[in-house]
């Protein structure tokens, strides 16, 4: 790096802008340890009272459990639905597969406020509002496009050689898929799993239209709480949300690193071919 005034000016500017970008997220951590009754920064004293308040808050805790269950169900269903779909689009190359891919990923192009309202009106007539089923379908609408995109890219990048070898050795199509294609898609499946879980767990706008007092998720409950009173309880819930995301990202990083290391040895994929036949 050259040490002229321009580069120093650039570095200082970039540092300030990074602070601006990260300040609101970083601020949540100290506030969650506040000992004050109301939101203030810096807090006048420190304590764990807002974490205790969170554990004692039945509404928040049950919303957290709902979110956890919802995200898990949505993730599993997304994989079950999107893996066959990506196979049909990428491998079987059905007629109009490009159109189908665009159609199935189109929900991501709509603003969530419009999509949320549209789903609300339809679900109201079907009696699906404030039900677990309604939330699952609502979330699938936006997790499936992500899953389909990630899985199609993953499948498209795989060389056909192993699958062809397995089927030429006499493996049935289903065995080829189960014992060759699916294991080789593992990195894509892990990425899709993480993405679907995070998208579902963090979704607010569409969920806001579909929840009610009977059934609510953590981000929605958090939104309503901030709307009425922005106390440090929000900070402790936020820390919980951030740690959750961090955990998912780290799990993916570890598994992906692992699968990549495993896939790098050609021996592994060759042995799966042998296994399938």
């Amino acid at each position: 790096m050259e040490d002229n005034p321009t580069s120093w000016f650039m570095r200082i500017t970039v540092t300030i802008l990074f602070l601006f970008l990260l300040a609101p997220v970083l601020l949540v951590f100290p506030i969650s340890f506040s000992g004050d009754q109301i939101l203030a920064f810096p807090p006048s004293s420190w304590s764990l009272r807002w974490y205790e308040a969170l554990l004692g808050n039945n509404v928040m805790m049950s919303a957290f459990l709902t979110s956890l269950g919802l995200a898990s169900v949505v993730t599993v269903l997304s994989l079950i639905i999107a893996i066959p779909a990506s196979y049909a689009i990428v491998r079987l190359k059905v007629t109009g597969s490009e159109f189908l891919f665009n159609l199935f990923t189109a929900p991501l192009l709509l603003p969530t406020i419009v999509l949320g309202l549209a789903i609300l009106i339809i679900f109201a007539s079907m009696g699906l509002l404030a039900t677990f089923t309604g939330l699952v379908i609502g979330h699938l609408v936006i997790t499936l496009p992500y899953a389909l995109r990630v899985l199609s890219v993953s499948l498209g990048n795989l060389s056909l050689a192993c699958e062809e070898a397995a089927s030429s050795l006499g493996a049935k199509p289903l065995a080829v898929f189960g014992k060759v294609t699916l294991p080789m898609m593992a990195p894509g499946i892990v990425a899709a799993t993480a993405l679907c879980f995070l998208v579902s767990f963090d979704e607010v706008v569409i969920t806001l239209f579909l929840t009610g007092p009977r059934m609510t998720t953590l981000p929605v409950e958090l939104f309503h709480h901030v709307e009425s009173q922005a106390d440090p309880l929000v900070a402790s819930v936020s820390v919980l949300l951030i740690l959750m995301t961090l955990a998912v990202v780290m799990i993916v990083d570890r598994t992906m690193g692992l699968t990549k290391a495993m896939a790098s040895g050609r021996a592994v994929s060759m042995s799966t071919v042998a296994d399938a036949t």
């Binding site: 802008l17 609101p24 949540v28 506030i31 603003p111 549209a118 339809i122 006499g170 239209f209």
Partner: protein
Amino acid sequence: MTTATFDMPVGAQKPSSTAGIAVALLLPIALVNAIGFILPVFNLARMSFNEALPGGGIAEAFTAANWTGLLQDSFYIELILNSIMVSLGITLATLLVSYPIALYLHRASGAWRTFLTVLVISPLLTSAVVRTYGWIALLAEQGPVANVIASMGFQPPRMMFNTTGVVIGLTEILMPYMILSLMAGFGRLDPKVEEAARTLGATPFRTFWRVILPLTLPGIALGCLLCFVLSISSFITPKLMGGGRVFLLATEIYDQAIVTLNWPLAATLSMLVLIIFGAALAVYSRVLRMIEG
């Protein structure tokens, strides 16, 4: 056994059975797409031509009353213009604060670049509610930002429950999108070209204005399109930081749908957002053609 099936590659079964399998594989995703996307969106478009009755009732009709009413009501005209102006302002502010970071990242290399890129992406993984709450803490009346301004001897302005707060919050929230778009468009920016300009005697400012900026215009156009579209449809931040005093398209859609229960009007406003999306896309492709051509 091996020789018998040797030249039969995967997916080369009889065409009719392949089609049958494909339909079966695509049926679940098509079902979700139909129930959760196609049907709701067409129904929403239809809803904008229904008649709203007082008290949340809806009369099946085919009237343009919602549309004409919207364009004759000065409150809504102002709301629409205000939404567009605020979104343009947010887009410009986001561009100004994102450009230096994107340029710096483009020039960085190795682990440092990876680390900074992770820092840029990490806010994207944090809920908009959490980040908006962070801004509420920062910009509150006795908050840290107000204290810093007061300590410099100025009267701190009101930064919460007005447009200022919404602009600051959304600018920060949209920064990662802008930075990533800019970086995607910076591919044409070769350090050798900058070096050439500097060796030939151009000042840093002139190098930026005549070399760097023109080369990065496609990235700027993409980032601006994305940020404009995201800010005009954003809901969480305007709702929480506006405190019911900032009226924008997205917050009005929510209020009409949930509070007033006027679904035909909410549907009409939603369609309007989609029309603005289309217009923004048209402007973008024109601008792109101008840059490239």
